[in-house]
């Protein structure tokens, strides 16, 4: 197929951007959930 490299690169890089973004949301959510647990414990101890 003519220009196969360009087509492959466009689709690969494009989908990689969406996938990495989706993973980054999951990673950030996990970090925030951990922080919420930590803060809940410290607020609970302070009461």
């Amino acid at each position: 197929m003519k220009n196969f490299d360009s087509i492959f690169a466009a689709y690969l890089v494009g989908w990689a951007v969406y996938f990495v973004f989706y993973l980054s949301i999951g990673k950030r959510a996990a970090a925030l959930t951990g922080e919420i647990e930590r803060l809940k414990n410290s607020v609970g101890r302070g009461k």
Partner: protein, 225 residues
């Protein structure tokens, strides 16, 4: 299976089906040949990105009017997702341009206004990191978001108002423009799939912002003790 997982799976099916349709259902374009297949992914991503910015604009207006934190969460979620879609547009565009135009990039109205739009929404997200106090941060970013949106119609109309290296509109372009009927159907199917992906990413990003709101609240509670 949770509702989120089902929606995610449906979106994945739509996206895979649209990619299949782009390669195996849509006919080969006569002048450009197979490289034109990038069009379905590139243009559909651009439409989805601009829709995200439009929702961001509405959320920003609603925040300024109502001062409800949910509109701030929606605004930042849409700005980030719109930025991701525009990033894909700015990557796939030059990859398509090089074999067709012989150059990666040119500073014509469409390309420049799209790049400016990308920079404006990067600034929108950076601005949020500079303000600590949540209410001030929400108000400043809503006002900046309203300003940033001014560039979005310019991106859309640039190929209608000025002569550009970028092709003139082939969809909703008026007389003398248009796509072959099967290409048109495949294009709108891809637009639907990319909008489903956009909605899914915004929903996930919104939940993240909601978590961040919970962290801010707990931090305030901890500081008050």
């Amino acid at each position: 299976m949770s509702k989120r997982a089902i929606l995610g799976l449906l979106t994945l099916c739509l996206v895979v089906a649209s990619a299949y349709a782009s390669f195996y259902v849509a006919p080969l374009e006569r002048t450009m040949g197979p490289i034109q297949k990038i069009f379905y992914f590139h243009a559909a991503s651009a439409w989805a990105g601009m829709t995200a910015f439009m929702v961001c604009f509405v959320a920003n207006l609603l925040y300024v009017w109502r001062r409800q934190v949910k509109w701030d969460w929606l605004g930042v979620s849409c700005a980030e997702v719109g930025l991701v879609f525009t990033t894909v547009v700015l990557i796939t565009g030059p990859i398509w341009a090089k074999p067709v135009w012989g150059i990666w990039w040119t500073w014509d109205w469409r390309l420049t206004s799209t790049f400016v739009m990308w920079l404006l929404y990067v600034s929108f997200l950076l601005l949020r990191t500079l303000v600590e106090e949540p209410d001030r941060r929400a108000l400043f970013s809503a006002l900046f978001g309203i300003f940033a949106f001014l560039d979005v119609p310019l991106v859309y109309f640039s190929i209608r108002w000025w002569r550009t290296q970028h092709p003139q509109p082939v969809v909703l372009g008026g007389t003398g423009s248009g796509l072959e009927p099967t290409m048109r159907k495949v294009f709108f199917f891809t637009v639907l799939a990319m909008h489903a992906l956009m909605a899914l990413l915004i929903a996930e990003r919104y939940l993240l912002e909601k978590l961040r709101g919970g962290v801010d609240e707990l931090k305030r509670e901890a500081e008050a003790q």
